[in-house]
C-alpha cells in the first residue's frame, strides 16, 4: 500500500516526514487531521489508531509508527547515504542528532506552539533552552565546516539533518530569531537546495534556484 500519513500542515514533525518522503521520492497518502482548533487527535477515533493522541502517525501497511524519527528511518531504508555511510561512527552520530531533535521540539517547537496555537508553556524557559540548542548546532556546524563538512554528520545530508531542520528553521515563529547564526543559515540553505525539497508555511523554497518567470507568461 501507499504509506498513509496522518498529517497537520503546520506541524514541524509532520513536515519532517513529508520532506523526507519527497527527498527520497516516496509518495504518501496524506490524511489531514484537525489538530487546531478541532483537537481531533485527542478524540476516540484517533486514539484508537495512536493511544498517545499525537501527530504524526504513519501507517506503512505493516506498522503504525507514532514517532517522526522512526518514520524517517523507515522512509530512508533502501536509499543509501540517508542513514549514514554504514560506519559505526556515522550510525552513532545520526542517533545523537535524532535524540537532539527531541530537545529542539521541546524548546523551539514548544515556544512556537505557545505563540501560534496558545499552548500553555514556560515561554521564557522554552526560548532560553531553544537558544542553547541553536548555539550547540552553530558551534558544531562551525567545526564541521573547518573539516570541510556541510551537514551535521558528514558531507552529505542524512535523516539527522531532516530531523533537526524544521524546528530550527521555524524558530522565529516562537520568538527566537535566527539572525545571529551564520553557520545555521548556510546549513539551512544547503538543505533547501536539495533536489526534491518541498516547503511548508514558514519555510519557503529558494526561488533563485529557478530562472525568473518569462515576461508575459501566465
Amino acid at each position: 500500500m501507499t504509506p498513509r500519513l496522518h498529517d497537520y500542515v503546520l506541524s514541524a514533525s509532520c513536515y519532517k516526514v513529508r520532506l523526507m518522503a519527497a527527498l527520497v521520492g516516496v509518495r504518501l497518502d496524506l490524511v489531514a487531521v484537525d489538530f487546531h482548533p478541532g483537537r481531533e487527535h485527542k478524540g476516540p477515533a484517533f486514539r484508537a489508531l495512536n493511544p498517545a493522541g499525537t501527530l504524526p502517525v504513519l501507517e506503512t501497511g505493516e506498522l503504525v509508527l507514532t514517532e517522526s524519527t522512526a518514520m524517517l528511518v523507515w522512509l530512508a531504508q533502501g536509499h543509501p547515504g540517508w542513514t549514514g555511510d554504514g560506519s559505526r561512527s556515522a550510525a552513532a552520530q545520526v542517533q545523537q542528532w535524532l535524540a537532539f531533535s527531541a530537545r529542539l521540539a521541546a524548546s523551539l517547537g514548544m515556544a512556537r506552539l505557545h505563540d501560534m496555537l496558545h499552548f500553555p508553556a514556560d515561554i521564557d524557559g522554552c526560548r532560553l533552552a531553544g537558544i542553547d540548542c541553536l548555539r550547540e548546532v552553530e558551534a558544531h556546524l562551525f567545526e564541521a565546516r573547518l573539516a570541510g563538512r556541510l551537514f551535521l554528520t558528514g558531507d552529505r545530508p542524512t535523516i539527522a539533518d531532516i530531523a533537526c531542520f524544521p524546528n530550527v528553521a521555524l524558530a522565529p515563529d516562537g520568538g527566537v530569531g535566527l539572525e545571529p547564526y551564520p553557520g545555521i543559515r548556510l546549513w539551512m540553505r544547503a538543505i533547501r537546495s536539495l533536489p526534491g525539497f518541498i516547503e511548508m508555511p514558514g519555510i519557503h523554497r529558494l526561488h533563485e534556484l529557478r530562472p525568473a518567470p518569462e515576461r508575459g507568461a501566465a
Binding site: 558551534a139 562551525f142 545571529p180 551564520p182 553557520g183 543559515r185 529558494l206 508575459g216
Partner: protein
C-alpha cells in the same frame, strides 16, 4: 569611535565567507536594520532592510543574478539600488526615484564593514589575523570589554593577546550591537592558532560574561 583624530563609523557586519555569492542576510548598523547581499558575480551591498514598495524586509528576499528581489511582490533592485522590474507591471520601466537606500560597505581582511553613506573614515585595520567565526552574546559591548581587561579597545572592537580555550591567541573581537541588548562578536585569531580551541574558548567566555550580566 575616534581613530587618530578622525571619526570612523564603520561597524563589522559579518565575515566575508559567511555571505557567499547569491545570498542576502540581515545586518545592523547604529540601530538600523540592514539587508546585506552578494550578487552572483560577488558584488556586495548593504541597504536599509525595507522595500520601498510596501516596507517588507529585503533580508527576507532572494538574490537572482545581479539583483535582489523582495519576497512580497517581487520588486527587483540592481546593484545600483534602482528598481529594475515590477512583476505586476511587466511593461513598466520603473521610475528612477524607486530605489533601495544604500549604506557604504567594504570588505578587508575577510571582514564585512558597513557605515553611513559617505560618512566613513578609513577602515579599521585587522591585518595579520584570520577570520574565525561570529557569535552573539546577551551583553552590551561595554560589558564585554569589562570582562576582558587583557584586550585593548580599538576602532571596531577589542584586540590583544589572551589565553583562551587553553591556548595563547592573538584575538580580535569586532563588536556589533544587535537589538534587545545583544552584541554580535566577529572574532579573528592568529593564523597559527587552533580554530577549534579558540571557538570553544569563545563559548566559555560567552557563558561567563552572560552569567556575570545575569547576576
Amino acid at each position: 569611535m575616534k581613530t587618530g583624530g578622525r571619526v570612523t563609523n564603520w561597524v563589522a557586519n559579518g565575515l566575508s565567507r559567511d555571505v557567499v555569492a547569491g545570498v542576502v542576510v540581515p545586518g545592523r548598523w547604529q540601530g538600523v536594520d540592514l539587508a546585506i547581499w552578494r550578487s552572483a558575480t560577488g558584488v556586495l551591498r548593504a541597504w536599509k532592510d525595507r522595500c520601498p514598495h510596501r516596507g517588507m524586509r529585503l533580508s527576507h528576499g532572494f538574490v537572482r543574478g545581479e539583483g535582489l528581489s523582495c519576497i512580497y511582490h517581487g520588486w527587483t533592485y540592481g546593484t545600483d539600488g534602482r528598481c529594475r522590474s515590477i512583476p505586476a507591471h511587466p511593461d513598466l520601466v520603473p521610475p528612477a526615484a524607486i530605489r533601495a537606500e544604500a549604506l557604504d560597505c567594504a570588505e578587508a581582511d575577510g571582514v564585512i564593514w558597513v557605515a553611513g553613506a559617505g560618512e566613513a573614515g578609513p577602515l579599521p585595520a585587522v591585518t595579520g589575523l584570520v577570520p574565525l567565526r561570529s557569535l552573539a552574546l546577551h551583553a552590551l559591548p561595554g560589558q564585554i570589554a569589562a570582562a576582558l581587561p587583557g584586550l585593548r579597545l580599538f576602532p571596531g572592537g577589542l584586540r590583544g593577546v589572551v589565553v583562551l580555550g587553553g591556548i595563547q591567541t592573538s584575538l580580535c573581537l569586532l563588536l556589533q550591537e544587535l537589538a534587545r541588548g545583544q552584541t554580535m562578536i566577529h572574532a579573528l585569531c592568529g593564523p597559527q592558532d587552533d580554530p577549534v580551541a579558540v571557538s570553544r574558548g569563545l563559548e566559555d567566555l560567552r557563558r561567563s560574561i552572560e552569567q556575570g550580566v545575569a547576576a
